[in-house]
Symmetry: C2
Subunit: 237 residues, 2 copies
Amino acid sequence: MNKGKLYAIGTGPGASDLITVRAARLLDKLDVLYAPAGRKGGDSLALSIVREYIGKQVLIKERHFPMTNDAQEKQQAWDDVAFEIEADVNHGKQVGFITLGDSMLFSTWVFLLERLESKIDIDIIPGITSFSCIASQAHFPLCMEQQSLAVMSCTAEIEVLRRALIDHEAVVLMKVYGRFDKVRQLLIEQGLLEHAVLMANASMENEIFYPDLSQVEEGEALPYFSTIVVNRSWKHH
Amino acid sequence: MNKGKLYAIGTGPGASDLITVRAARLLDKLDVLYAPAGRKGGDSLALSIVREYIGKQVLIKERHFPMTNDAQEKQQAWDDVAFEIEADVNHGKQVGFITLGDSMLFSTWVFLLERLESKIDIDIIPGITSFSCIASQAHFPLCMEQQSLAVMSCTAEIEVLRRALIDHEAVVLMKVYGRFDKVRQLLIEQGLLEHAVLMANASMENEIFYPDLSQVEEGEALPYFSTIVVNRSWKHH
């Protein structure tokens, strides 16, 4: 019997052609592909990104991971999928698991890695991060030479975000959804409003780009994947 | 005449199959490809990464960018290449410029962007960052959920690096070359030695991996592309 293996595959930010050549070749050859489904019955965004590369023989297994605060329910969902993947690999299958963006940055894939690392053979394929894509799409650089970059979640305390904006030349502010007004106020306070851009769904059909954050209406509902990029040495146009 | 355009293309960390599908397809169709040459007469690493994707018709122009402290000499070199690229694009050519890693993070490509942004049509294609690749190769995650990541250059003051290690769950320490002993001392002081890994030339044939930094000899000459990844919530094996 062939030796089974698990491949964790970063899909990148959203456009199908922003996955790596390695990922595209793998998706063609797998036996089984696990895809996280956002909601029960909902389509998997990760799956839609990579669909054109998936070989005809690949058995697709969409699995639901609950977005709940019930830790036990979450643990159980990850345990179940880990168990299933382990069985497939032990049956000699080449198994894929797709994850949005990069595999090792803000990816719940790591919950599977923790469970499976000591049990089965694993290869991890990195993906383009959303902020690299935003910087490219917006023609807005991250940092250069001796400068530094911080990647923050806007769910952090404002004081924590303030410190990052003071300490680093470039700051990526993720999950701005629902906290935009407070974060924009902070950027104004720090004199950084003209050094910031906002993008949502970068590289996808529904991409939204605000080169100037003052154009966002107060209380405007921004998409879930909205991110602000700040660079002290660069101004938006 | 066709409308010319400049494509900045991130080559990713080093393995040929870690470039994006978009980059691979573009390289096949270009008229001209500019590649930075490390030294006069030296091979271009970026070029060796993408060579298998370059179409037969592509005219390759290797250009040397001096690694000097003479600002004027540097400016002149970038001015010259910008002028050459602008002329090619104005002649209706599809022109590529390749850059290691991601196009917008620590990339000297931005010196060309500054010069050409207002003059010609530009598309930027992101690339896999070295630290995403290291995290994947080492099975060592960056950060999760509410955590934050700082990407630092080890040429910064030790006090600046210390603050980043205190403030962020995960820290990438780039350009560790030549400062390894001091940085390791700092990690010991912060109780982070078992939460750190070092990798050089990630994904390339000459990849070097130290899962345990205490195994690096004092004064050992590390490769130029050596990077340390630290994660407070993860231990090396």
